[in-house]
């Protein structure tokens, strides 16, 4: 069925993303859905606009799936990230990780969201009460071993 990765302007549906994964031998699916929060650093957030360098963002998501396959060979993973304008409470990212048992599914989903925040060229433009600002997080370098270890540590502890 559908591709494991997507950058899309349409609303995300976690259940639909789960259905794209082959369920053969699967006993657990962990989904992570990131939402637009109504506050950030003490600011009242009104809405967000996400921008991506789409071809590289897709490549980054594929890279994360490859990293997950290396660490957890039996895990099947799908990652969809939405871009464009999103209102409070809307889903900006949805991850589904399927495995034979729960531990690997949870770990892989956690690892994936940490890596998205580290390496995928997507940016959020925050519109808050009184202004707007581009949010700047991590320098995108997939080869940074320290960052990768940090993501793995978050996933496995």
């Amino acid at each position: 069925m559908g591709a494991g990765t997507a950058i899309t302007t349409t609303p995300l549906d976690a259940a639909a993303i789960v259905r794209t994964l082959d369920a053969t031998g699967i006993g657990a699916v962990a989904t992570f859905v990131g939402l637009v929060r109504d506050n950030n650093l003490g600011r009242k957030v009104l809405h967000l606009e996400y921008e991506a360098y789409e071809p590289l963002a897709l490549r980054g998501l594929e890279l994360i799936i490859a990293e997950v396959s290396e660490k957890w060979p039996a895990v099947r993973l799908a990652i969809h990230h939405r871009i464009g304008r999103m209102e409070i409470g809307e889903a900006s990212v949805a991850i589904a990780a399927a495995s034979s048992h729960r531990a690997d599914a949870f770990a892989a989903a956690r690892y994936a969201i940490e890596r998205i925040k580290q390496i995928v060229p997507i940016w959020k433009h925050e519109y808050f009460e009184g202004g707007d600002v581009w949010i700047e997080g991590a320098t995108a370098d997939p080869d940074n071993v320290e960052a990768r270890d940090k993501a793995m540590k978050a996933a496995c502890t």
């Binding site: 921008e51 963002a57 060229p121 433009h125 581009w134 700047e136 995108a140």
Partner: protein, 81 residues
Amino acid sequence: MHVTVRLFARLRDIAGAGELQREVPGGATVSTVWSALMAEFPEMSPYEKSISCAVNADYSRFTATVADGDEIAFLPPVSGG
């Protein structure tokens, strides 16, 4: 040589465009292109330590040599998720 420069987020705002066409000397690296850009848009200088780059939509390094027709993207720190 002719290259396409792609800019995103705050860098795009500073330049006033997400895509620029620029001439660069033969043997230029991504670093050469970035230095010229900072000279043109001094407001980009604070990003010197935190940006990363891509060549033809693949992660790259500032030491990479660029070729005629390449698309060079400069990525401010990312904030997806």
